[in-house]
Symmetry: C2
Subunit: 281 residues, 2 copies
DNA sequence: AAGTGGTCTAGACCACCTG
DNA sequence: AGGTGGTCTAGACCACTTC
């Protein structure tokens, strides 16, 4: 892969390559030498060594534990990919989900959210921040914005048990109908990292979703951050040469922005599924 | 959002917040003071300041230009999200795609790829690395692995023009039928950053795809990295209360790992579309 | 107490860009 | 030439963990 092997003038790269060898020669969970030991062995200062370690921690290959040491990470994410995600195993169970409400307030929508929800910036919305947990472990943070007029009497407890859309339908006579959702890669900031328990600047998925009811009225604007080391999206695409007849957004099928040979946007999507990443061991 | 305002004992956080104010009080493209100036103003050392700047650069809010200075980035990605991705504008054009082949060799499959493609690790595969460009600008790197026996006479030129699946069908009588694709967040490593022209450790999307022909035989294993500052996935979900009848993977509809209230995996996907991110200006 | 990672400093040298 | 970002050093102090 590498060209110009002599290009590694940067000490940081040299140190990183040495660390990679250390990681590969050890089993997951094994400790590696301490920072100061490695500094001496490699003849670099501690900040330089730490900078190289930072990269491997962000990539998910190394784990730091304060006062204990550094260890080879259990799950390799970007490096080896997740093994054996064969089709028949896709719809697998993956733990029990729960929610913990972090914030629950009624505030003015403001410019950005007002525009999203097609309401006045001065209109009141119910703002809810909640932590999503799987088997007690934080998986994501979700920030919901719902026009307050739609959900009178909504309580934090409503957001911790059961399905929010069921609450909308049964208690508030709002029937969700469709949603447009975007997904982008991002990295965690300090707050997100603290809440979902990963290092700062870890890879994560940023979801943004606008949900409408059966009259086309926006009822929910959600913005959520999912940790990247435990979460991924799996989709199955049908590629028959005879194109399936029109479905919503079939225009995407010949989307000019879709590169030839790349399935994204080319085939019809049978299902979009989001689930746990099985550990790589 | 922040609790415990006095918790900011870390100089890095204080500096970052100051930088955020600088960014917000300026227009995209505007310069901000130099590193040394900011050090003096804030009373911190340069490594400390640079560490804070690193975070905003990775987040996509600041841009560094060697020898020139630091500037407010044009597109805010994770911070403000992308405005106005309203439904009717989704299937929009987004430039002309092209490919540049970086590597084209026949090698042994090896353990991992052999397992993916269900062939012997000693079997030969055609390995192709290519850069995908939009309007001449690098957008992604794609690593393809195809059993060499399937594509005799395939040339690099075949991979730079037209649709690979068309080549497979017309020249090699291989008809792709379905694919399973996974998407994960990641960050760029040195090589990826250099090739697609973004800083190291920038957010990116990692695609992995296994494509099968109409006999169920694996014909293509692809692993690609898309830059996160120009690429995102948009999907439209139908949420009718009367569930649509069985589609492939409808099992995902009641996937136990899907959090209540979260659309991911709950609704049926009308289309999965991947396209350019429109600039945020 | 001793070792670990977490943070920060003051200063140095280099490469790049603009006058 | 002078300013900019890019890299690196040697050392310090703190917080945490283990013995």
């Amino acid at each position: 892969m590498d060209r110009e092997p002599s290009r590694s003038a940067l000490k940081r790269e040299r140190v990183r390559d040495h660390l990679l060898e250390l990681v590969e020669s050890r089993a997951p969970g094994d400790p590696i030498p301490s920072e100061r030991t490695l500094c001496e062995q490699l003849g670099v200062s501690r900040p330089t060594l730490r900078s190289a370690v930072d990269e491997l921690v962000t990539t998910g290959l190394l784990i730091r534990e304060h006062g204990r040491g550094m260890f080879v990470a259990r799950a390799k994410i970007t490096q080896e990919l997740v093994p054996d995600a064969s089709a028949h195993r896709l719809p697998r169970a993956s733990g029990n989900w729960a929610s913990r409400v972090l914030e629950f307030t009624v505030v003015q929508a403001g410019a950005r959210v007002g525009r999203k929800l097609h309401i006045s910036p001065a209109a009141e919305i119910t703002y809810i921040a909640r932590l999503r947990l799987v088997d007690g472990e934080p998986m994501a943070i979700e920030y919901l914005h719902v026009p307050a007029a739609l959900v009178p009497g909504l309580s934090p407890a409503d957001m911790e048990s059961g399905d929010f859309y069921d609450v909308l339908r049964d208690r508030h006579r709002v029937r969700v109908h469709e949603a447009v959702q975007s997904i982008e890669p991002t990295v965690t900031n300090e707050e997100e990292a603290r809440l979902i328990g990963v290092p700062v600047l870890s890879p994560a998925l940023l979801f943004e979703r606008l949900t409408r009811d059966d009259t086309g009225r926006p009822v929910e604007y959600v913005h959520s951050v999912y940790r990247g080391d435990r979460y991924r999206i799996v989709s199955r695409l049908s590629l028959g040469d005879a194109p399936a007849p029109a479905a919503p957004f079939t225009g995407a099928r010949h989307h000019p922005g879709i590169p030839p040979g790349d399935l994204a946007g080319r085939g019809d999507v049978g299902a979009l599924m989001v689930g746990d990443v099985q550990p790589a061991e």
